[in-house]
Amino acid sequence: MRDIAQVNNPYHDDKVIDACSLFGAMDTSGRRFSGEGVIRAIANMHFRSNGLGGGFAIYGLYPEYAESYAFHIMYLSEEGRKQVEAFLRDRFYLVYDEEVPTRPTPGIVDPPLVRRYFLEVGGQKHAEQSEDDYIVNQVMEINTKLQDAFVFSSGKDMAVFKGQGYPEEIAAYFCLEQYEGYLWTTHGRFPTNTPGWWGGAHPFCVLDWTVVHNGEISSYGINRRYLEQFGYHCTMQTDTEVVAYAVDLLMRKHNLPVEIMAKVLAAPFWTDIERRPPEEQKLLRTLRQVYGSLLLNGPFTAIIAHQGEMIGFTDRIRLRPLIVGVKGDMLYLSSEESAIRLICSNIDRTWIPAGGEPIVGSLRSPLQSSAAVERRC
């Protein structure tokens, strides 16, 4: 969508600040579950947001189209839709498309049209690029060059549902209680500098990477300039966007494990590094030297997810809240403990993680059969 700044940021502020509610739930055994509990949990933190943005990311959502890229696209005009659909037919094979079902919901005013497309990429279309890079480029093109359209999400077997309203209203509007997934993240927004809008709600998504975020990335400027060198264009002027692209760069393109990714984004202090064993010192110094421009400064908590994995962490001095709960194979991450206990009254354990320490749930190591999460606390 062109001229997004006019909608989202009419005063051309350098960045947009918000402070919000987060919740994530994952069944690390891969069992899919309804969003009913997650919706109740985020609704329980109603007062952390102000009705100007709510959203959900769901993984394991479209098993019947698991091999297709599921694009959720928002349209502000019929003209925008025609343009984008012509663009999609030109760049992809269209497997199936439909309007995302909605119901009239109090509190949801003047919603845009949201459609979903299940797309496949033919070999001839992306030539030397990887399929993933091809997808990222097409998403960037729609978001920056076409009018009145915005891509909510673009990954396989997952999607983002979001908009302007409280998260429980967005859930009702998109009938989310009818969907199932093995991993849900959700967000209630409290934007403080600019009007909220449908595309500016969290989660932010590129490919199947999603980010929900509470806080303020005060290093936004330097992070954005660094990411531009790799072809990521920050179009929304919302600080959370840089987290999504930074994670895509580090984990997908540079193939770094999640622990290393966390050490880049929330790097230990130099004084901490000096007390580590020599080998570890070398690694940590190297990371700070190579990826210094990706250090996220300022207060934040983020929950990052992609196919098969959910990661929660805070800034290194924990200026925003995050609490972890574990029950059997279920991993819960939340801004407030009460939201976890509301939907899981017999939870095994809850704890407050240390700043910068990633809490990871993964299908590769279900909680029951490994001590993956336990080890980190």
Partner: protein, 253 residues
């Protein structure tokens, strides 16, 4: 909101009740002379116990929300569960007893009263606690604390017992007492110099300190069923502010 009156004791079911309604209900009950209130099914309702101003007792079953007992003045709150962030925010008088852990900034800016937490506390517990005359807040924590424990502390007493630390392990908190310029911290369990803020000094405890510990650790032990003698057998150290105005010269040229 179903409730039933037994003499002076009232039970409130907080299921699905918003914090505003719940606190209004508490104000009504206290105004009507209720001495004891039990609140069941508490899930995140904020500010419980604020604005009541009478020495009543509130027992909470569940997870009270942020700013539990904010500006609290003289009541006694017992939590059967964990407390969230900002427990005892700027409290003036009274007692909060948490049978579980408490979140970040426990006891922030407290100016009187006592908080007892059975397990751990999150980041910045005791931040900017203060004291004046006979108003002296006390926070006793049974477990361990996270970073910036006692940050910018200006008065009062923080006691960290480390009862859940294994033999030979130390507290993990860094930046303990950063910016501290008043009050005192008592620590049981090891801590290294580098974990302390630049503004604190370490001292052996003296007779006067032992009396303070005896008094408040006894209260802690009776709340949670510990043996005070067993706890006090171990070594304690005392952290004190080295300067009254640590940043007095920061912006002075």
């Amino acid at each position: 909101m179903a409730n039933s009156v037994h003499n002076q004791m009232v039970k409130i079911d907080a299921s699905g009740v918003l914090h505003r309604e719940l606190n209004a209900k508490l104000r009504d009950e206290v105004a009507n002379g209720t001495q004891k209130i039990q609140i069941h099914n508490v899930y995140g309702q904020r500010y419980i116990g604020t604005d009541l101003g009478k020495p009543v007792e509130i027992e909470i079953f569940g997870t009270p929300g942020n700013d539990l007992g904010a500006f609290m003045d003289g009541l006694r709150i017992i939590v059967h569960g964990n407390a969230q962030d900002g427990c005892g925010n700027t409290m003036n008088e009274g007692e909060i007893i948490v049978h579980g852990h408490a979140g970040d900034i426990t006891g922030l800016a407290a100016r009187g009263g006592k908080i007892f937490v059975r397990d751990d506390v999150g980041y910045r517990a005791g931040i900017h606690m203060k004291e004046y005359g006979d108003k002296k807040p006390v926070v006793v924590i049974g477990g361990t604390a996270q970073d910036f424990f006692g940050e910018y502390m200006a008065g009062g007493i923080l006691i960290l017992l480390g009862l859940n630390l294994n033999e030979g392990t130390r507290h993990r908190a860094n930046f303990v007492g950063t910016g501290m310029h008043g009050g005192v911290i008592y620590l049981r369990g090891g801590i290294e110099d580098y974990q302390l803020g630049k503004e604190v000094g370490v001292a052996q405890i003296e007779e006067e300190d032992c009396q303070i510990l005896q008094k408040f650790v006894s209260q802690f032990a009776s709340h949670f069923g510990y043996d005070v003698g067993e706890i006090l057998k171990h070594n304690f150290c005392k952290l004190f502010p080295r300067w009254l105005r640590p940043y007095g010269r920061l912006y002075a040229y």
